[in-house]
């Protein structure tokens, strides 16, 4: 078992809706869906390389959750650490046009946005569970 040794990195992009969805989906995993089982890594710190994040992603399976098809989180993990164990692109779930809508403050999150968050978190959980099963 590698419980608590699966990393999840969201892009948390500030320029578009997809970034907020990616962030909230990862937070939902941390707090509700897989509490205590997810190691969340800060993408900017991961890239800065001085917080131990890169070493974590080299050693343990890490999932990228990106807000748009630029897939910055996935590319960063693969550039600096290792091939990702899985990746989720919010744009593939909610559509590119929707994902690129203007950035969303958490105080303006609607039921529709939460539906996007739930779908993204569910997709990330599927990947998470696959990794977990393979580790047993």
């Amino acid at each position: 078992m590698i419980t608590n040794k699966i990393g999840v990195i969201s892009c948390s992009g500030e320029e578009c809706l997809g970034g907020t969805i990616s962030r909230l989906a990862v937070r939902k995993m941390m707090e509700e869906l897989k509490p205590g089982m997810v190691s969340t890594l800060c993408l900017p710190l991961f890239i800065a390389g001085d917080g131990g994040e890169r070493e974590f992603a080299e050693k343990y399976p890490t999932i990228a959750v990106d807000g748009c098809s630029k897939c910055c989180a996935k590319r960063a993990i693969e550039k600096y650490s290792n091939k990702v164990a899985g990746s989720v692109d919010v744009a593939e779930i909610i559509g590119e046009v929707k994902a690129l809508e203007k950035p969303l403050s958490t105080r303006n999150v609607t039921d529709e946005h939460m539906e996007y968050v739930n779908k993204t978190a569910a997709k990330t959980c599927e990947i998470f569970d696959d990794i977990l099963i393979k580790s047993i």
Binding site: C16, T40, P44, I47
Partner: protein, 133 residues
């Protein structure tokens, strides 16, 4: 003058990253939308030509969540000119004992603090626009 780039760290682990993110969105979306814009820090750090072209030589303000200053360092490394750099805990003194929330959601006190941070950023924008650096 092109729009001032205001960039938060958006760190995901603690409330400070969310405070940075929300304060910046208040500035770029509500307080100073015609003078400012934000860029994805995640995109900035990739060093893609597209984002380098947007930020290189441009006036930037950063709001970091912790003393690692990921936003400031990443913007500087990508060629942005950081004329003002802040971190969320710098302004905590008057807010000791308050609960500001988590990396997911802010409390009422958290929103008040984010508003205060946004005002600081908006003042920076005014100063820069007035040429007082």
């Amino acid at each position: 003058m092109s729009k001032i780039k205001v960039i938060p760290c958006s760190g995901i682990g603690k409330v400070f990253g969310l405070l940075a993110r929300e304060s910046v969105l208040m500035v770029t979306e509500e307080k100073c939308p015609s003078d400012t814009e934000t860029l994805c820090l995640a995109h900035v750090v990739t060093g893609d030509d597209e984002v380098v072209a947007k930020i290189k030589g441009e006036t930037c303000i950063t709001m970091d969540g912790c003393a690692k200053y990921c936003a400031r360092k990443s913007v500087e490394e990508t060629g942005g000119i950081v004329v003002k750099s802040h971190k969320v805990p710098d302004f905590m003194k008057a807010h000791r004992g308050e609960e500001h929330g988590t990396g997911t959601a802010l409390t009422d006190d958290g929103w008040k603090y984010a508003e205060e941070l946004a005002e600081i950023l908006a003042e920076d924008v005014k100063e820069i626009k007035a040429g007082v650096n």
